[in-house]
Amino acid sequence: MRRAGAGRRWLIYGGFLPFLVFALFPFYWMAVTSLKSNLEIYGAQQIPLLVRQGMTLDHFRYVLRETLFARWMLNSLIVSGSSTLISACVSTLAAYALARLRFRGSQFFGMAVFITYLVPPTLLFLPLSRLVASLGVSDTPWALILTYPTFLVPFCTWLLMGYFRTIPREMEESALVDGANRMQAMVRIVLPLAAPGVLTAIMFAFTISWGHFIYALAFVSSNPQKMVNIGLATELIRGDVFYWGSLMAGALLTSLPIILVYGFFAKRFVSGLTAGAVKA
């Protein structure tokens, strides 16, 4: 860097501070609220930014014991886990074919993946809700396990196509020369090398399914079948009484797995992000 003077440093780090506050404050507020007593949350107090009247785990206790939170978490785990697994398998095969093999129509299929990747779930939730109903799987985890791959597969395929291209062809070629067929070359040479890419895809797919909203809201309506994010948003609020403390506790507990994964793989997240990004 040229002339990194103290003034310039102040300007840069000082200028970044508002961005940090903006980005992090909602999480801080979530945590603070979940630890306050109801009296403090709703009472008129001097400074709401801190917990001043003693921390309490009551809200966490309430969410875990008095609601179906644990059941919703399990639903979310099952649905996100299965749809991620299905999508990772389907996408790895498709991405390998699109990135590596030469065949008629490869351009067309590549374009189709790109376009389906852009299709927002909001465009399809109505016809899909009819389809799900006619298959008789409405209000079951299957409705979501079946439909989540519609946004996961294009995303993962897109991401993995880029990854497969970074693997040198020579490695595969030498296996082919040594008499392996394409299938063997793919399974033994390319897939192990692509493992980090597949892991990234799995991580992203899981995060996206964990937070996906509209299908989960539209296709599943009975309380015990709900995904955790939908359960929190629709079941914890009753009439005019707001359970802000327990709502924040639940949101925090539900965000935690994602934040932990992110903490471990921050770099991979960052590089994968620009590879197409989680759907907004």
Binding site: A23, P26, M111, T122, R182, G197, F213, A233, A251, A275
Partner: protein, 324 residues
């Protein structure tokens, strides 16, 4: 000036959206296609094609058909031609309002994300140390699912005990609490703020990737020619960042106009329909109201935007491929 349009990706990224090359013709490979290569390709593609055809293409076609009928839940529909569309556009005030809301939302949110994202990217780019940490922290709103974090915003906009109001009042910026979610103007502002909060990290990171790829020699040359930082920004940074700006903005336009959960969680489209977007209105009319034909027509208004954006993105990707 060298053309670097094709190099706007993060170096370690497995496939940046900007530099993704899938739409190029397959590179000429040193070996000839072997017997069976084509068949293997179709076998490997089959599951994905089957899934996308039955769960994207087929539902899309049924929604096209549904939009031409007056179908309701549990009632077979009659074919009514384009009546749903014409009624929506010409007579339905709530729908007209929704189109206007969507326009404001997209322009406001995407515009703000572009400006703030660029500012954050420039600051991160100028950091000499600690950049990975700051970058990781800035990313959190993008990483945590919106359906959870928006609950925190909902609470922050609470009419009785909004912490934002508390801060603003105590800083002396406002004298009376803002009615965040009950006044149309402030409700619209609230959903834009929340959308910007959620999307800013993505913009910043993509722009940062673009900034990193601009050769430093260009700045050094400009500096030795006596150009100040502002001149460098306008004449080097912005033009070279343009391809990345274009792609990120296009992508965000589709995702923003199709936004659902921010509005659903914060306002449900209110007050007085001033925050309804196409998705939330379609949900309201179709699943809550049971008027499937009309709702299908509403959500199909997302399609032209999608088509235009897809066209320009394909063009941008192709162009990038040609330059390289």
């Amino acid at each position: 000036m060298p053309k670097i349009e094709a190099d706007v990706t993060i170096p370690e990224s497995p496939g940046g959206i900007a530099a993704e090359t899938s739409l190029r013709a397959p590179r000429i490979s040193p070996w000839k296609p072997r017997a069976g290569e084509e068949r293997l390709a179709y076998v490997l593609l089959a599951p994905a094609v089957l899934l996308l055809a039955s769960l994207i293409a087929y539902p899309f076609l049924t929604s096209l058909y549904m939009s031409l009928t007056d179908r309701r839940i549990a009632m077979p529909g009659r074919f009514v031609g384009l009546r749903n569309f014409s009624e929506l556009l010409l007579e339905d005030e709530i729908f007209q309002q929704t189109l206007w809301n969507s326009g404001l939302y997209v322009v406001g949110a995407v515009g703000l994300k572009t400006v703030t994202g660029l500012a954050a990217a420039l600051l991160l780019h100028g950091m000499t140390r600690g950049r990975p940490v700051f970058q990781a922290l800035l990313m959190l709103p993008w990483v945590v699912p919106a359906s959870l974090s928006v609950l925190a915003w909902w609470w922050m906009f609470d009419p009785m005990s909004s912490v934002i109001n508390w801060v603003l009042v105590n800083l002396g910026i406002i004298s009376r609490p803002i009615r965040w979610l009950s006044d149309p103007f402030w409700a619209r502002s609230a959903i834009v703020i929340t959308n910007v909060w959620r999307g800013l990290p993505f913009f910043a990171l993509c722009f940062l990737a673009g900034l990193v790829s601009i050769p430093r020699e260009l700045y050094e040359a400009a500096e030795s020619d006596g150009a100040g930082p502002m001149a460098s920004f306008w004449h080097i940074t912005l033009p070279l960042l343009r391809p990345m700006l274009g792609i990120v903005i296009l992508y965000s336009v589709v995702m923003t106009i199709a936004d659902f959960e921010i509005v659903f969680l914060l306002t449900r489209g209110g007050p007085r329909n001033s925050t309804h977007l196409l998705g939330t209105l379609a949900y309201h009319v179709g699943l809550s109201g049971g008027r499937l034909g009309e709702a299908a027509a509403i959500s199909l208004f997302i399609f032209p935007v999608l088509a235009v954006v897809a066209y320009f993105m394909l063009r941008a990707v192709r162009h990038g491929a040609e330059v390289s």
